[in-house]
Structures are given as structure tokens and as C-alpha cells.
């Protein structure tokens, strides 16, 4: 996206500019400093909830990629899969096995929801690694909706399936009687911290990596440092590829673990 309208000369660190949410249409033209001052200032369009922004664009690209992989890739329904189909089957088998292993057979009916989360995060993370792209999962607004969404759904599910027995999860029957209230308080606190850590972990990891790459890219403007800087960018980029996959996996498996607590609170 066009956004870097900076003149060269001097170090320009704008590592966070890549995270700016901006409308796709109706933006002001890049400011022309040589133009005469005093011309009518262009008012940037306001971002309403329905405005089509770069968030919309990159989420739509993620949806398109998921559609391409999971639907178009498997359209042949071949017994001997094509390459795309076998990638789709690999992801299916990976998440399905994870859900089944962690939550047991009762959890398999929630597999489509967990697959939705996993594929969205995976594709958002990987699409964010394309240079000049926008990373939707680097925004706390996005990951908080995911994290708190999981938290609220799982908590509701726990009460619906187990009734008040769900609260037994906080009351450790194995612990000595004196310690039980203390442990219960700690358990409750840790339970409510879950969505916060769940969402900040994802956004923090993705944002930090992208910002560090941008910082190193800023150093690349200095001729003496640029080779080292570019090497560092390559290395961190490799690390970020790992992080993109691992964070999607971590988010998904933690969701499975929370779901397991709701399905079987007495473990």
C-alpha cells in the first residue's frame, strides 16, 4: 500500500506505520511540500465501522486464499489427491487430530469453529509476511475479539453443559482443605486472565516481529550497516515465518484446552 511518502535522507523510523488502518478509497493524495501553502487542506475520510479499509482488503484476501485452498483445491475429490488438495487434507487432519486428542470425542462437533479460527489466524499471519501487506492479526482489536470470543463461548458452554458443577473446576478436591480457598482464588484469577494472554500473545508476537523488521529496514539506509541490516532482516523474516505458523498453532491448541475444560471440568 502506498503510505511511505518519506524523502530519503536521514534515518526515518516509522516501524509502526505499517499497522495504520486506513480507508482504501478517498484518501488524500500524498502531501506535496513544494506546493503553495494555504491550499484547502484535504480532510482524511473518517473511518466508520462499515468503511472499506485495508483491514477489509487483507481479510478478504485471507478468505479468498482459504477458499482457494479448501474448496477449489479439493474440488476434484480425488482418492489420490492433487498437491493443493493434499495440503488442505493435511491441515484438516492436523486440526482434527488436535481437537480429538485434546478435547476427546465430545469436542469433535466444535471442529469447524476451531478450524475457522486456525485457518483465519494462519492465513492472516502468513499474508502479513508479504512485504507492503497489512497484518490483521497484529491488531489487538482483532485478537481480542478472537480471544474473548473463545473465552465467552467456552464459559457459556461450560455452564450450559455442566451447570453449576462447572465451578468445581476452581475447587481443587485433591488439595488440603485450608489451601482450597487460596487455590480457588488463584484459579479464578488465572481463568479470567486467559483471554487477555490469549489475545495479547498473538498480537504481540506478530506486531513485535514486523516492527523489528521495519527498524532494521530503517538502518539499511546507512551504507556501512546495510549489509548487516539486510542479513538481519532475512534472519528475522525466517524467524517470523516460524512465528506465524507457531502462533496460529498455539492459539488453536489453547482454544482446544479451554474447550476441554468446559467439556470435562473435573480433570
Amino acid at each position: 500500500m502506498a503510505g511511505e511518502a518519506h524523502e530519503t535522507g536521514g534515518l526515518t523510523f516509522h516501524p509502526l506505520d505499517q499497522f495504520i488502518v486506513k480507508p482504501l478509497f478517498g484518501n488524500c493524495p500524498p502531501v506535496d511540500h513544494s506546493a503553495a501553502e494555504g491550499t484547502a487542506a484535504c480532510v482524511p475520510p473518517e473511518i466508520h465501522w462499515y468503511t472499506i479499509t485495508n483491514v477489509t482488503l487483507w481479510m478478504a484476501i485471507a478468505v479468498a486464499c482459504i477458499f482457494l485452498l479448501m474448496v477449489v483445491g479439493s474440488r476434484g475429490r480425488s482418492i489420490i489427491p492433487t498437491r493443493l488438495q493434499s495440503i488442505g487434507e493435511l491441515l484438516y487432519g492436523f486440526v482434527h487430530k488436535m481437537v480429538e486428542d485434546v478435547t476427546g470425542h465430545e469436542g469433535v462437533k466444535y471442529f469447524p469453529y476451531i478450524m475457522t479460527l486456525f485457518l483465519f489466524i494462519l492465513f492472516a499471519n502468513f499474508l502479513g509476511l508479504i512485504p507492503m501487506s497489512f497484518t490483521t492479526t497484529s491488531h489487538i482489536a482483532v485478537t481480542a475479539v478472537l480471544g474473548f470470543g473463545v473465552f465467552i463461548v467456552v464459559t457459556m458452554l461450560g455452564f450450559v453443559l455442566n451447570g453449576s458443577a462447572f465451578l468445581g473446576m476452581f475447587w481443587m478436591k485433591d488439595a488440603p482443605l485450608i489451601l482450597r480457598p487460596v487455590i480457588a482464588i488463584i484459579e479464578v484469577i488465572s481463568y479470567f486472565v486467559r483471554p487477555v494472554s490469549h489475545s495479547i500473545r498473538l498480537a504481540g508476537n506478530i506486531m513485535a516481529g514486523h516492527a523489528v523488521i521495519k527498524v532494521f529496514a530503517g538502518f539499511a539506509a546507512i551504507a556501512a550497516i546495510s549489509p548487516a541490516s539486510i542479513l538481519a532482516i532475512v534472519a528475522i523474516y525466517g524467524l517470523e515465518v516460524l512465528v506465524a505458523g507457531i502462533q496460529a498453532y498455539v492459539f488453536t491448541i489453547l482454544t482446544c484446552v479451554y474447550l476441554k475444560d468446559a467439556l470435562h471440568p473435573h480433570h
Binding site: G3, E4, A5, H6, L11, T12, F13, H14, L16, D17, F19, I20, V21, N27, C28, P30, V31, C42, P44, I47, H48, W49, Y50, T51, T53, V55, M59, A60, A62, V63, I66, F67, M70, V71, S74, R77, I79, Q85, G88, E89, Y92, G93, F111, P112, Y113, M115, T116, L117, L119, F120, T136, S138, H139, I140, A141, V142, V145, L146, A203, M207
Partner: protein
Amino acid sequence: MATETAGTEVEAGMPQLDFSTFPNQIFWLVITLVVIYLILSRIALPRIGSVLAERAGTVTNDIAAAEELKKRAVAAEAAYDKALADARSEANRIVAAAKAEMQAELDVELRKADSEIAALTAESEKGLAEIRDSALASVTEVAKSTAREIVNVFGQGADASAVDAAVEVRIKG
């Protein structure tokens, strides 16, 4: 550092904490998740699940079919072996029967030949006996006549019948 602020950009800290963009992001995220969920649950997951199940079924069927074919091959081999053994015993039986038949025929023929030989032997023995008897008779006759002649030569007119009797006694003795 950068003296020029790029025009319209928000410069106040992290864009992540610009709450004015939250409704926008949340709205599009919810849309995205719903669309992905619908794509997955309506089309992609049932399809991939059925493909995987079908593949597992195909593999199981193929293994079962291979097992079946192997069983049939073993059965065919057993049948072949059995047919071979049967044919061999049948051949042995035929050989034994033929041998016994030949033996029986041979025995009959031998017996017939034996009896023929016995008959011939008996006949020739009879012939021989006749010859011997006639020879004996001739000898007796010659002895008698010779004795008579000798007695005559000696000049004693002997009774012929007495001579004969004497000769007869001598021959028998």
C-alpha cells in the same frame, strides 16, 4: 528525525491503540469469520472429510480384496495339489489293476500251458511205456525162441512150453 509528518497519518503512538478504528476492524473480522465458517462448514470440511473417509474405505476394501484373492490363490493351489495327488493315485490304481489283470491272464495261460505240457508228457510216457512193453515182449520172445533153439541144438527135444516157463521165470527173477 523525520521532520515531515506524512500528512494525514496518526502520529499518536501505536495504531493498535487507536480506538477509533476498533469498530471497523471488529465489524470486518466478524464478517470474515462468519464467511470462513460458512465456507468451511458448508463446503470444504464435509467434502474433505468424505474424501478422507472414502480413501480409508478404498484402502480397506483393496486390502480386503487382496486378502480374498490371496485366499483364492491358496485354495486354487490346494485344489491343484489335490487334483495332482488324485491323478497320481488314479494312475497307480490303473497300473496296479492292469498288472493284476495281466498276472491273472498270465496265470491262466501258464496253467493252460502246464496242463498241455502235462498231457503231452503223459502221452509220450504212454508211448514210451508201450515201446518198452513191446520191447520187453520182443526180448521175452527172442529169449524164448533163442532158448528153444539152444535146447534144440543141444539135441535134447525139450518141451517148448517148459522152456518158455523157465525163461519167463528167469526174466522175472
